[in-house]
């Protein structure tokens, strides 16, 4: 994959984030295809919220040198109105090195979501149910554990 394609992949995520803001909670019904490279670059450069040098939210991310682009999306979740801040970090070569989704809401549901990675990034990268993936040969993942481990861990949990 070329850098441009890479850029388009991640900007695809960003584009989806913007679509999310327009479609409210219906955004989960359809994923936006990856944006064409030229559009992608325009999207990045035309965004008015370029904030110059990045200040990474966490310690020492060297990936985060260059420009930070942020946008905020609001949508209605089962727990009520939620606001999610999207941040993309672009390096000097124009390659996007980070994409992040950060819930800003204060209602109880949102607070719980802030501890759960899957729900947070779900707004930016939709993912697919493994059951719906028919063309892949295998799934790369954290290794399945044996019955022994799972059996004992359940037992240990009940003892706590």
């Amino acid at each position: 994959m070329t850098k441009t394609q890479l850029l388009s992949t991640i900007v695809g995520i960003f584009t989806f984030a913007l679509v999310l803001s327009a479609c409210s909670n219906q955004a989960t019904t359809e994923a936006t295809p990856t944006a064409a490279p030229t559009q992608a670059v325009e999207t990045v450069e035309a965004t008015p919220m370029v904030t110059g040098a990045a200040t990474p939210a966490t310690e020492g991310s060297t990936e985060a040198e260059g420009k930070t682009i942020t946008d905020t999306a609001e949508y209605t979740s089962p727990g009520g109105e939620e606001t999610i801040k999207f941040t993309i970090v672009v390096d000097d070569a124009g390659v996007i090195t980070e994409a992040k989704a950060e819930p800003q809401g204060t209602n109880p549901t949102t607070k719980i979501r802030q501890t759960a990675f899957a729900n947070e990034v779900n707004a930016a990268v939709k993912g697919k149910k493994l059951a719906d993936l028919t063309t892949v040969a295998r799934v790369g993942g954290s290794s399945l554990t044996t019955k022994a481990f799972n059996g004992f861990i359940t037992e240990a949990k009940t003892q706590l």
Partner: protein, 290 residues
């Protein structure tokens, strides 16, 4: 397409072979040699080579060529990761509760435990004291590569070897890449994206499985604590041992070190941080489902 699965090294393995005919004894032979490898290197098996120095005094010992190879890889990665990747933490993991009795009860004096010092030169292993090696993560990658070589020797060049979600693949007969989905960390029924694997390896690890109390299996030997800032990692590399070793090394390392370590091994990565960022190396090849 010939495909079969078996259990070994605490997980489920799958071998895919793109060939019209496969020798009916092949499956059994793969299971047999895999079991032998497990017997030799599992921390859970008392007579294994990784356990043989449990009560040894300081000194220099001769090890088997295979063990020497495993330790040489680890020594190199240990150096590149400033000591954070270190298979010498076998005792620490046991003390934390992940032992063959599955106590899952961390001991109180874990902070006092010190990483034993070791070095390998050829087949000569020097130890500062008795110790247990844990090759759990990257040993699986090592064996994935060995099985791939075995399949080449048996004249099955078009294959994919999957060791519980870590894998190495050549290509299909038509020369096509193997399409592999990447599991969403902490959400095993979901894929975050996919990669095309051709003559390369993909490994994925997260901190959601193999978890007990407030511990999980990615443990920092210097702080004696499980990693808290990273929740998952995916690595692509030329071999499974490199990819597997790097998932552990990167999860243990500061983000400022990721790029350097990965480049040293010509690997690419996705890091999933606890504050919900996905950090990718600029040359990561793959797509996200968005």
């Amino acid at each position: 397409m010939h495909q079969f699965s078996f259990e070994a090294m605490g997980t489920v393995w799958a071998v895919l072979i793109d060939s019209d005919k496969v020798d009916p004894t092949l499956n059994d032979e793969i299971v047999r040699i895999s079991n032998t490898f497990e017997q030799e290197f599992s921390r859970f098996i008392e007579s294994s080579q990784t356990n043989q120095f449990r009560n040894s005094p300081a000194g220099t010992y001769t090890v088997s060529p295979q063990f020497a190879e495993l330790l040489q890889f680890a020594q190199d990665l240990k150096q590149e990761s400033s000591g954070l990747f270190d298979p010498a933490i076998g005792q620490l993991i046991e003390k934390a509760g992940y032992n063959k009795e599955y106590t899952f009860k961390p001991e109180n004096n874990i902070e006092d435990w010190e990483v034993p010092v070791w070095s390998i030169d050829g087949d000569q292993l020097t130890l500062s004291r008795g110790m247990i090696f844990d090759v759990g993560g990257y040993g699986k990658g090592f064996w994935i590569d060995q099985l791939s070589e075995f399949l080449f020797e048996k004249k099955y060049p078009y294959h994919l070897v999957d060791g519980g979600g870590d894998m190495f693949g050549t290509s299909t007969r038509e020369g096509a890449a193997w399409k592999i989905a990447i599991e969403w960390p902490g959400r095993p029924d979901y894929a975050i994206g996919q990669v095309e694997l051709k003559n390369g390896a993909l490994t994925v690890s997260d901190t959601f499985k193999r978890r007990w109390q407030n511990w999980h299996h990615v443990i920092n030997p210097l702080t004696k604590q499980p990693v808290q800032t990273i929740i998952g990692c995916a690595v692509q590399a030329k071999t499974a041992v490199v990819a597997d070793g790097l998932t552990t090394a990167l999860m243990l390392s500061e983000s400022s070190r990721w790029k350097t370590i990965a480049q040293r091994y010509h690997a690419t990565y996705l890091m999933f941080t606890a504050d919900s960022k996905i950090v990718m190396s600029p040359d990561w090849k793959g797509t996200f489902f968005n």
